[in-house]
């Protein structure tokens, strides 16, 4: 397990506001790492910090052994790809336009390469559809395709299952597994416990600080989740490898 990304005493926020405080964490590669926390806990800020989109207040981040602060912005796509939770397009981009806006090693990907990625994820039929006319599940799938298309070793997904019905959620979770099978590091910021339960590693954030992190089976517990969400949560073991979480009295 090589530490692909490492946060050392890292603090960050926006303008004068500090949101993340003295974070120490490791994001290994390959595998799925879930940044788990309530809404407003700092999950998205942590993802944004990994694309240098926050104001650094202290500490550092290293990626593949290099200080992120010293990686020029135009080389960032060689390290990470990012899929936002949601985006609004008013101009009429097609799904293919969105995917082919990805960059790999200093060049733009071609439309053929973009179409291939859509096919790989079994959503080739969306290519020529207007992005703004897709369902929210389809939009999220196209954004994941875009992130995958850049061939970065780390793919970051912000809230990939929020607002989705159970069948779309399952498709997204399958996609996340497909990315992990490609030996990528998949970093997911979410409050969705189902994603946490298919992850290899967990980073649990509350009020901008880490309350626990490590391998899923060691971290996930009724006590931790109850603390994390300020409500009683019970982890129920289904069999040797599967868990589920239920609200408790």
């Amino acid at each position: 397990m090589a530490d692909h990304i490492k946060l050392n005493d890292f603090s960050a926020g926006y303008r004068s506001e500090e949101i993340l405080r003295k974070i120490n964490a490791e994001i290994p590669k390959p595998g799925i790492t879930t940044i788990l926390g309530q809404n407003g806990s700092g999950k998205t800020t942590m993802l944004r910090s990994l694309i240098k989109y926050t104001a650094v207040k202290g500490g550092s981040i290293t990626m593949a052994g290099k200080d992120l602060g010293r990686i020029p912005l135009n080389e960032l796509p060689n390290y990470v790809a990012y899929a936002p939770a949601w985006l609004e397009d008013q101009m009429g981009f097609t799904a293919l336009n969105i995917v082919s806006s990805a960059r790999i090693s200093g060049r733009w990907i071609t439309e053929d390469e973009a179409a291939e990625v859509l096919e790989y994820l079994h959503i080739g039929y969306l290519a020529q559809k207007r992005f703004s006319e897709l369902s929210s599940g389809q939009m999220k799938m196209v954004l994941i395709a875009r992130a995958l298309a850049s061939r970065a070793p780390t793919v970051m997904l912000d809230e990939p299952t929020s607002g989705l019905d159970i069948s779309n959620k399952r498709r997204i979770m399958k996609m996340i597994n497909m990315l992990a099978e490609r030996k990528l590091s998949v970093v997911v910021a979410t409050h969705d416990l189902d994603i946490a339960l298919i992850s290899d590693w967990i980073i649990a954030i509350k009020n901008g600080g880490i309350i626990s992190s490590g391998a899923r089976n060691e971290v996930i517990s009724s006590a931790l989740l109850s603390d994390l969400y300020d409500t009683n949560v019970r982890v129920v073991k289904l069999d040797n490898s599967r868990f589920t979480c239920v609200m408790d009295e």
Binding site: R48, I51, K52, Y53, L73, N74, E75, L76, P77, V80, A81, Y82, P84, L87, E88, D89, Q90, M91, G92, F93, T94, N97, I98, S100, S101, A102, R103, W108, Q128, R130, S132, R146, S150, M156
Partner: protein, 324 residues
């Protein structure tokens, strides 16, 4: 297709004017026809192509930069700022001309300053991410600057009666274009257009999302500013010698996006440039034939062509997402 349309319009522009020149006269001009064509009509047609292309590209760029389908130099106050700057430049130019004997560059230079200042004001007074407030701030600044243009215009008329033609700056006219203005416009226009075409994929990124742009290696803030400066140069270059011409920048990119069923700027921008040039040639042609023996202001024509498209876009609603 578009290029053929453009070519036909160029021919029409060479034929029509105070003196009608038949097609055979355009293709095989006599001595007199040659003078009319080479000294007046061809420079005017070439100028129309540059102005139309500039405005269309500036519109496509602004729509991407503001992520706002209604943005364009006229709507965002940039055009009024440019024209106000041009008048200031003209006033200084009157004195400069007596000193140095030339002053043509003052107008676009001050036009650019005016364009950027007006755009900055509009950005300051609009709420970030809210397309409606941007448009409202743009309209407010436009009205204010047009009032200043009228004031300055009235003052200049008392000082230099020969500057009667500057009154036309408020309405837009291509009649002031000649070989020297064409050369200046070309010099000011070509570098930003090359840079914008080179950056068209980056424009797609900032149109998609700031975080996505950042993660793809493009600093959204810095790139936006750079693109706004480029569209300011194009607007100033286009309007310095013609006055306010509205709606070309608004409708042209939308027509191309509807035709292509895609918003990829790498395809939209060059095609919008050709269509913008064609629309301005068409407007110039119509401005001469619509009311016999006089020339109608260009903005009247472009508005008549543009406003129905604007109404369609507003009515279509979903074009603006779920912002309201």
């Amino acid at each position: 297709m578009l290029l053929l349309f453009l070519f036909v319009l160029v021919l029409l522009n060479l034929m029509i004017g105070s003196v009608y020149i038949p097609l055979s006269g355009v293709l095989y001009p006599t001595e007199i026809y040659r003078e009319i064509i080479y000294i007046i009509r061809l420079p005017e047609a070439v100028g129309a192509i540059i102005v139309g292309a500039d405005l269309a590209i500036a519109g496509a760029v602004m729509q991407s930069v503001f992520r706002n389908p209604l943005a364009e130099p006229y709507v965002t106050g940039t055009a009024s700022g440019a024209v106000f700057g041009v008048l200031v430049g003209f006033s200084i130019g009157v004195f400069a001309r007596s000193l140095f004997g030339f002053a043509l560059i003052f107008e676009p230079a001050f036009g650019f300053i005016g364009a950027m200042a007006a755009t900055a004001l509009v950005i300051i007074f609009s709420r970030r991410g809210d397309w409606l407030s941007l448009i409202l701030a743009g309209i407010a600044i436009s009205i204010l600057l047009s009032a200043f243009v009228m004031l300055l215009d009235s003052y200049l008329l008392t000082k230099t009666p020969s500057s009667l033609s500057i009154l036309l700056l408020l309405f837009g006219t291509l009649s002031g274009l000649n070989v020297s203005t064409d050369i200046i416009m070309t010099l000011l226009t070509v570098p930003p257009i090359i840079y914008i075409l080179y950056s068209s994929k980056k424009l797609n990124l900032i149109m998609i999302s700031d975080e996505v742009a950042q993660s793809s290696g493009v600093d959204p803030g810095r790139f936006r500013l750079l693109m706004l400066v480029m569209s300011g140069v194009l607007t100033a270059a286009a309007l310095s010698f013609t006055g306010i011409i509205g709606f070309v920048g608004l409708i042209t990119p939308h027509i191309i996006r509807l035709m292509l069923r895609s918003a990829n700027n790498a395809a939209v921008i060059p095609l919008a440039a050709v269509l913008g040039a064609s629309i301005l040639l068409l407007a110039n042609f119509l401005s001469k034939v619509l009311i016999p023996e006089t020339t109608v202001p260009i903005t009247a024509i472009t508005s008549i062509l543009g406003v129905p498209m604007l109404m369609y876009l507003i009515k279509k609603g979903d074009y603006f997402g779920r912002s309201y």
